[in-house]
Symmetry: C2
Subunit: 292 residues, 2 copies
Amino acid sequence: MALEKLSSNKSFEGDLIKYKFKSSALGDLDTQFNLFLPANASKSKVPVLFYLSGLTCTEDNAAQKGSFLGPAAQEGVAIVFPDTSPRGAGIEGETDVWTFGVGAGFYVDATNPKYAKHYNMLTHVTLELPKVIQEAGLPIDFSRQSIFGHSMGGHGALTLYLNSLRTGKKQYRSCSAFAPVSNPINCPWGQKALGEFLKGGVEEAKEQYDATELISQLGGKPVHILIDYGTSDKFYQEGQLLPENFLKAARDVGYDEVQVRVRSQDGYDHSYYFMSTFGADHIHFHANFLKA
Amino acid sequence: MALEKLSSNKSFEGDLIKYKFKSSALGDLDTQFNLFLPANASKSKVPVLFYLSGLTCTEDNAAQKGSFLGPAAQEGVAIVFPDTSPRGAGIEGETDVWTFGVGAGFYVDATNPKYAKHYNMLTHVTLELPKVIQEAGLPIDFSRQSIFGHSMGGHGALTLYLNSLRTGKKQYRSCSAFAPVSNPINCPWGQKALGEFLKGGVEEAKEQYDATELISQLGGKPVHILIDYGTSDKFYQEGQLLPENFLKAARDVGYDEVQVRVRSQDGYDHSYYFMSTFGADHIHFHANFLKA
């Protein structure tokens, strides 16, 4: 699993580096990711934020458009930008719709045999990427990880975070999301994707792939969650995101505004223009926990 | 020349709006531009920055990747993002190379009859866009304009600015550029483009389309210029940018560090990762003059 460096761009005194490697989690397909290393990483290991992108994105979109690098440089935090799915699996139907398959791996480990060899983004993000980065000797302190994401990647961030609390692994110190798919078992995007990837369908998803279900199970355990969504987001309006369901479930089991903060942002949409507006806020939120 | 609004995205409490109109300067072709209006534009007219993009870009690239909107919102300054050329002229050869023609109008008014009907980006940026924006009743104060740009757009910003001083129009209060093509009559990109667009070729370009020639002619008149370029910029290394020529010409006619500041940025390249690093600096530089 040797890393091949494809490019490097200096940014905010740090470096945005693109790597490629053959991923066993993704069935031995080549995958790429971007890593932002702030300048202070040349002196000592730095904490790390994983950023999970939304539907159709690659490892590049948020690195280019998210306005995250400046605040991360200022806080001295690295960011890993994975891809959103395996590429090149050649499975029938994986490119038929933009909401499922290529560019839309939903951060699950597939149990449907049709997808199980390649679609293992959960393992890719939580285990494989930390392992290959560590083995490459890059200056990341994996005892200090947090996670954030957008839309489908917000679903990924929330479920990976909540699962790591549920199972006692506590891999991530904090979680934030922009316009996350918050209750996928109850929205068309989630029902389609989880229904296809999991042999037990939506029922199987409840245990670990639905943020609203997960937060209900966790009542009592300390969490640090920040969510922003825009009221003019058309996917919010059409019921793909359902942040109110997540918020209600959190409040119902006793989480307050400090533990689970969900902000409705008036007039903002689903785009990177929305995300970049609140990007610095999210980075600073995580830095509080990563640098503690 | 009625403006058609194509989209609007809220960003940093302001709005990034995409417009389309039939441009007479570009030979009655449709053209598009983006306008960022900061929140304070709802109360009173705001000053404006014109941003000129580089080769192959459209009105979108810098709006998405430049990290300019946050600082502009903070300073209460609008930004106009024009396209980089006419599109759809159908002139033979205009799409043969990426450094000339479509996506590469070089901000000149063509005098070669082959291009003269459509390739008039100078008039488009300096006269037509202010006129259509004003006629649409948008809240821009055109008595307070400044200009900046990247690469070919840095050439555009410098030459439009210096020309408006040379001719006494003083349209812009300040000028800045990222990795500008600073002496086009002496680099391959400039020689090709100016040689094609102008019937008098490179010789004709000297009077108004070469920043190094222009600054030499201006000695004494007050200027406010900021330039950043990266030492790892491959186009700098291959001699397309020549910022040292511009700097030498400026110093030779007596401009000091305050009037003409040219900064060599160690290890940075030609990308938006470079530009976004220094974007806030440039916005704040212009705001000093626009808000005076």
